[in-house]
């Protein structure tokens, strides 16, 4: 493994600018790691030429003195972002072979910023999952293994499992993820990396294959808080093609980074200290509290009284929206078409969708269709949206008394692949700490906090008020500096 692939985004950017290496060298190094890591199954499609072309352009730009924010930096692109001329599948058979004639706003912004694409990263199918076990293209295997010699294949988290595995294995220095109910934060926590879901509306959703429209947000995943700030600045911004896009200037988050938290208050939500909380998780949480105190913050207790209702509300709202968003996958205009003999139009729909969607996707479509159906709409959907309002009010009230909230990211370290597939409900409970911030649309990030007794990463989550990614990043930086998390997975692939 070349030393170049150990560098962070900031180190690549700055080292390249300083002339320490060429962009092509960087791209070649990561391309080599990518092609040597097929055992992880992190990529659905590899695009080494795209990375090299961007690298060559960066080298030219450097010579001409016209560098861009991410010149020289190759990244991975979650296969939920539509990329022109490059297969985009949402990890589903129903889109196998689909080649968009258009580019998502977020990915275009990254290419415009000078970044190159190493490939399309694997994910849970249609972003539905917490372990990357629902992909049509096979599971992503975490580069991490338990420390006791246990060789069980572990989940990298989901839905951005390809992104987290690839970064942790140094196949790319950074990647895009999307977070609907924790899909950036939870895989980041499982693989010992950093990821942030910004305020809802901060990044455009145009060209991102929709799962749950009122929850989906793109965000960066990388090795450090600084890297996330750099990436997020390139990804964020108002898009007139997205009606939910925030019309606000993009703050200079990297320049605003400061781990000095004097005068700041950190809220600890009492409802998250659940009975039976994993001892390692609790320990890392306590460490986090100590670190933030050390950084100058005052620690206060806050209450988010409706916390326990967040997951059930999410599992009504997200499937409901998904059941409608996925209606367009019908075999008429793109993607798979299954036309049995003698089938009429409606038969074609039913056969295509049955063949093309995986079981978890079908399960959520059925749930979503059910909760929206006549007679149940008020009891389920309307009720869930009211509870959602209450959750948002909980946070707003809590933020009257603190600047950021600190909590664990997940209730446990990574589990083994296959451990939870038979019990959807158990799988859903993985998102218990992550979902509340999604429902309220608030910025939230996960930073590595420590290791479990099995030697697996555990993450700490910082949640901030709407529009205050800076406070979240700063608290994250304070933890990062003190946690000294240097653990890496041993290369077995």
């Amino acid at each position: 493994m070349s030393a170049l692939t150990d560098l962070t985004v900031a180190e690549i950017r700055d080292g390249f600018r300083a002339g320490e290496f060429s962009a092509r060298e960087v791209a070649e190094a990561f391309n080599a790691n990518v092609s040597a890591a097929k055992a992880l199954n992190a990529f659905i499609v590899e695009t080494p030429e795209h990375a090299l072309a961007a690298a060559d352009q960066a080298d030219k730009d450097r010579a001409a003195g016209s560098l861009k924010p991410l010149s020289g930096v190759p990244i991975g692109m979650k296969d939920l972002f539509c990329t022109t001329g490059v297969q985009t599948t949402a990890a589903s058979q129903i889109l196998e072979g689909f080649t968009p004639p258009y580019e998502s706003t977020v990915s275009q912004k990254l290419w415009d910023a000078g970044a190159g694409m190493l490939g399309k990263l694997n994910l849970d199918q249609f972003a539905m999952g917490s372990s990357n076990e629902t992909s049509y293209f096979g599971n992503v295997i975490s580069p991490w293994r338990r420390g006791d010699g246990d060789n069980a294949a572990l989940a990298p988290g989901g839905s951005s499992g390809g992104s987290s595995a690839a970064i942790a294995a140094r196949l790319c220095p950074a990647a895009t993820g999307t977070d609907t109910g924790g899909s950036i934060r939870q895989p980041a926590a499982f693989t010992g990396i950093t990821g942030i879901k910004p305020t809802y509306g901060r990044c455009s959703r145009w060209g991102i294959i929709a799962f749950a429209s009122s929850l989906d947000q793109a965000g960066p995943m990388a090795h450090s808080v600084r890297d996330c700030a750099i990436m997020l600045e390139a990804m964020a911004g108002f898009d007139p093609k997205d009606s939910t896009s925030l019309d606000l200037p993009v703050p200079l988050w990297e320049a605003g980074l400061s781990s000095d938290l004097r005068g700041k208050k950190v809220g600890i939500p009492k409802e998250y200290r659940v009975e039976g909380l994993d001892a390692d998780v609790a320990r890392v949480w306590d460490d986090g509290i100590a670190w933030l105190k050390d950084a100058g913050a005052e620690i206060v207790e806050v209450s988010l009284p409706h916390s326990k209702y967040a997951l059930p509300a999410y599992y009504i709202i997200a499937p409901a929206e998904a059941s409608s968003n996925l209606a367009r996958y019908d075999g008429v205009r793109y993607g798979l078409r299954d036309l049995p003999d003698g089938a009429n139009l409606q038969d074609m729909y039913a056969a295509t969708r049955a063949a093309g969607f995986g079981p978890e996707v079908k399960r959520r479509i059925i749930i979503g269709t059910y909760v929206l159906s006549a007679g149940f709409y008020d009891a389920y959907y309307t009720q869930a949206q009211k509870v959602r309002t209450l959750m948002a009010q909980d946070f707003a009230k809590a933020f009257e008394g603190c600047d950021v909230i600190l909590a664990p990211t997940t209730p446990s370290a990574a589990f083994a692949l296959g451990e939870n597939v038979d019990d959807p409900l158990k799988m859903y409970l993985n998102d218990v700490f992550a979902v509340p911030a999604s429902l309220a649309g608030l910025p939230a990030m996960s930073v590595p906090g420590g290791l479990s007794k099995d030697g697996l990463p555990l993450g700490l989550q910082i949640i901030g008020p709407a529009f205050d990614e800076q406070a979240v990043l700063n608290a994250g930086l304070a933890i990062e500096e003190r946690a000294g998390f240097k653990a890496r997975p041993d290369k077995w692939w």
Binding site: I316, A343, D347, A384, Q385, L425
Partner: protein
């Protein structure tokens, strides 16, 4: 509220998901488990609470009435499973 096989089949049909009786039957306990779990939302006192209509308070922007798009038939048809003479084609529908 709980579902039975008939309900699951009806919902699957509404969602255009062809499903064998066995698969539908397997979904029954799964769905009932999930539905039973989400039903705890009914415990919450939502008196006077409005359902959320905008995640982050924001108003709907109106765009100008100018033609800025279209005339991209090649792109629109590029991934079509079946297309002819500029149309998408589907099995014939009788109305």
């Amino acid at each position: 509220m709980s579902v039975d096989l008939t309900t699951v089949k009806k919902i699957a049909s509404l969602a255009r998901l062809a499903m064998s009786d066995d698969d539908a039957q397997a979904l029954v306990p799964e769905l009932n488990g999930i539905l039973h779990w989400v039903e705890q939302l009914g415990e919450v006192d939502v008196t006077g609470v409005e359902p959320m209509t905008a995640v982050i308070p924001n108003t709907l922007r109106l765009r100008d009435d100018i033609v800025t798009d279209g005339d991209v038939r090649d792109k629109v048809l590029a991934n079509a499973p079946q297309a002819e003479h500029g149309f998408f084609t589907v099995p014939k529908v009788i109305e």
